[in-house]
């Protein structure tokens, strides 16, 4: 369940939202959030996490270390 978006870095561009295969990304007050219950790190869908790959600001979509890694 592990990716999260660093709120202070998010430009609210929405690029990640449609790329997420789990529909885990949603908008709240101009920036985007990841629902940790839905995130699968894109495992089983793509080689790389889509939010990370499409985000225009480096180190904005990052692993949420407070949560255990996704297990298939």
């Amino acid at each position: 369940m592990p990716y999260k978006i660093v709120a202070s870095q998010c430009t609210g561009c929405s690029a990640c939202e449609p790329e997420c295969p789990n529909k885990a990304i949603f908008e709240k007050e101009g920036i985007f959030l990841i629902d940790p219950k839905k995130c699968t790190e894109c495992i089983g869908f793509f080689d790389e996490p889509q939010c990370v790959a499409v985000c225009p600001v480096d180190k904005t979509c990052i692993v949420d270390k407070s949560l255990p890694r996704y297990q298939k």
Binding site: T11, C13, A15, P18, E48, Q50, A53, V54, V57
Partner: protein, 527 residues
């Protein structure tokens, strides 16, 4: 905000060199005939003469595609497309400032419904508004549902508004059919390179079909998709303009190759723009100290490509939410709040009658221009000069020197007046604040010009301009630009022959980098 006066790296050194090249001009002795009734002209390098009739019919009222059109018609951009699928080293998406005017910058994002309402509101208040463009702030085709959702609504409510979009081209081949369905007849693709080696220095990555590509792979993929998309548009009969950002030391020479490649694939207009790059923009180029081109470097490249195809030189590199004539932005008048509360009455008849009146004006002007040109028939000088013109639109010399936010630049030769660009400046006249600096900035911006044509100018700036070798001319106040410019040029040649002015080459000029601050009504004191 203090950074706004910063002219960019290296400028002061360059300028100190330029200053030494100022020419001596004899006292103003009058310049040919004064404006009479029916004198009119509109400077246009992209007038009907340069284009096939069917193309001209499509572009003549499009401010971004026709230099002549941009004097009369306005465009608006709606910022419905925030997402982007590539990263460019000249773009920083985190930056957003109301005073900043450059592509990719917006103050507010709109839903397709809000955008369509805004378009109708603007169109009913501004009859000059003929074009709706979607240009970002990201890439319109990376947000296809929002982009085409907006077009769909506008197309149904106001079919006389032309639709256009501007894209980096990566997703273009997937959307050409839809573009055609919505009768979008103008598409702009930004193509900065056709060589992946060059591209790798401009684009750190692209995102395509669920994968991020970097380096030369990214540039190669982008270039292939751009050229494929361009070919598809040409085949579908959709007019395509190509934008290129000139980045000295990276793609400046290479853009000649780009020009050939896009022309051969059917692009009908090429718009080479200067890199906008200052450290405070926070872009990769800005932070690395990558400079933009000087005015003469830009013009030399545009001239070099011109033999191949029409060059666009009136681009203002506007924001993705700009509203109004090019060079002005009335976006602040149309806030979402105000639009929500507006009663919109879309009057297609009123809009048509505005267009009709422009047509009458245009043909009168064309005739006057031809007539004025005849007066140059006996001249066979090779001497070309640049003139700066203060105008607020309508193709006239109708702006006070001190109120000018930009100057239009005309290259004069015995073939007539050719529009070759514009230079943005800070207001010289801001009610006493920072006038000295601002005047120096204006002189830097038009330093390659022999004269500046204005509606009015004060004694003090007049003197300073003369010292810098630029002749201030106010005798053509409110006349049409092109006839005035030809008249001035004719008298200039006469004075050259008689030895009244020295034949000295002008130096280079500086392209302004910083943000522009919109000042309300400039306080009193017309300069």
């Amino acid at each position: 905000m203090e950074a706004l006066m910063e002219p960019g790296r290296g400028v002061s050194e360059r300028f100190s060199k330029l200053k030494g090249l100022a020419i001596a001009v004899a006292p103003h002795k009058g310049c040919g005939s004064s404006g009479g009734s029916g004198k009119s002209s509109c400077g246009s390098s992209a007038g009907s003469g340069d284009l096939p009739p069917d193309v001209w019919e499509k572009v003549k009222n499009h401010p971004c595609y026709s230099e002549e059109g941009h004097h009369h018609y306005a465009r608006m951009h709606v910022a419905v497309a925030p997402a982007c699928n590539i990263q460019c080293n000249y773009c920083n998406r985190k930056y957003d400032c109301a005073n900043e005017s450059r592509p990719g910058v917006v103050s507010e994002r709109l839903t397709p419904g809000q955008a369509a309402r805004k378009v109708l509101a603007v169109a009913s208040e501004i009859p000059q508004m003929t074009v709706l463009g979607i240009a970002g702030p990201g890439d319109p085709l990376a947000n296809p549902d929002k982009t085409f959702g907006t077009f769909d609504r506008v197309f149904k409510a106001a079919p006389d508004i032309k639709l256009c979009l501007s894209t980096n081209g990566l997703a273009l081949p997937d959307h050409v059919a839809r573009i055609k369905d919505f009768k979008v007849d103008h598409v702009t693709i930004t193509i900065n390179m056709i060589d992946p080696e060059v591209g790798a220095r401009i684009y750190p990555w692209v995102f395509f079909r669920h994968k991020r590509y970097v380096g030369k792979d990214a540039a190669k993929l982008l270039s292939e998709r751009q050229l494929e998309g361009l070919e598809m548009l040409t085949q579908a009969g959709i007019l395509c303009k190509v934008n290129s950002v000139m980045i000295p030391g990276i793609n400046d020479d290479h853009l000649v190759e780009v020009n050939k490649a896009v022309k051969s694939r059917g692009a009908f207009l090429h718009n080479i723009m200067p890199l906008i790059s200052a450290p405070e923009h926070g872009t990769v180029f800005g932070l690395a100290g990558q400079r933009g081109p000087t005015a003469q470097e830009l013009k030399a490249l545009q001239d070099k490509c011109e033999g191949e195809m029409n060059m666009m030189r009136h681009c203002r590199q506007c924001r993705a939410d700009a509203v109004g004539l090019l060079g002005e932005d009335r976006g602040a008048e149309f806030t979402t709040e105000r639009i929500e509360s507006m009663e919109i009455q879309y009057d297609a008849g009123k809009r048509q009658s505005y267009r009709d009146s422009v047509e009458v004006e245009r043909s009168a002007r064309r005739a006057a221009r031809e007539q004025e040109l005849l007066t140059l028939a006996g001249e066979n000088s090779n001497r070309k000069i640049l003139l700066a013109v203060a105008t607020k639109g309508g193709g006239k010399v109708n702006e006070h020197f001190g109120h000018a936010k930009e100057f239009q630049i005309y290259e004069m030769s015995t073939a007539g007046a050719k529009f070759v660009g514009h230079r943005r400046v800070d207001l010289y006249c801001q009610g006493g604040y920072g006038e000295e600096d601002a005047l120096a900035g204006v002189i830097r911006a038009i330093n390659d010009c022999v004269a500046v044509l204005v509606a009015k100018i004060g004694a003090c700036p007049k003197e300073e301009l003369r010292k810098a070798g630029i002749e201030p001319i106010d005798q053509y106040a409110y006349d049409h630009i092109e006839t005035s410019a030809i008249s001035y040029y004719r008298s200039y040649l006469e004075r050259l022959k008689s030895g009244a002015v020295a034949d000295v080459e002008r130096g280079d000029a500086v392209i302004r980098q910083g943000a522009f601050i919109e000042v309300g009504a400039p306080a009193g004191q017309a300069a």
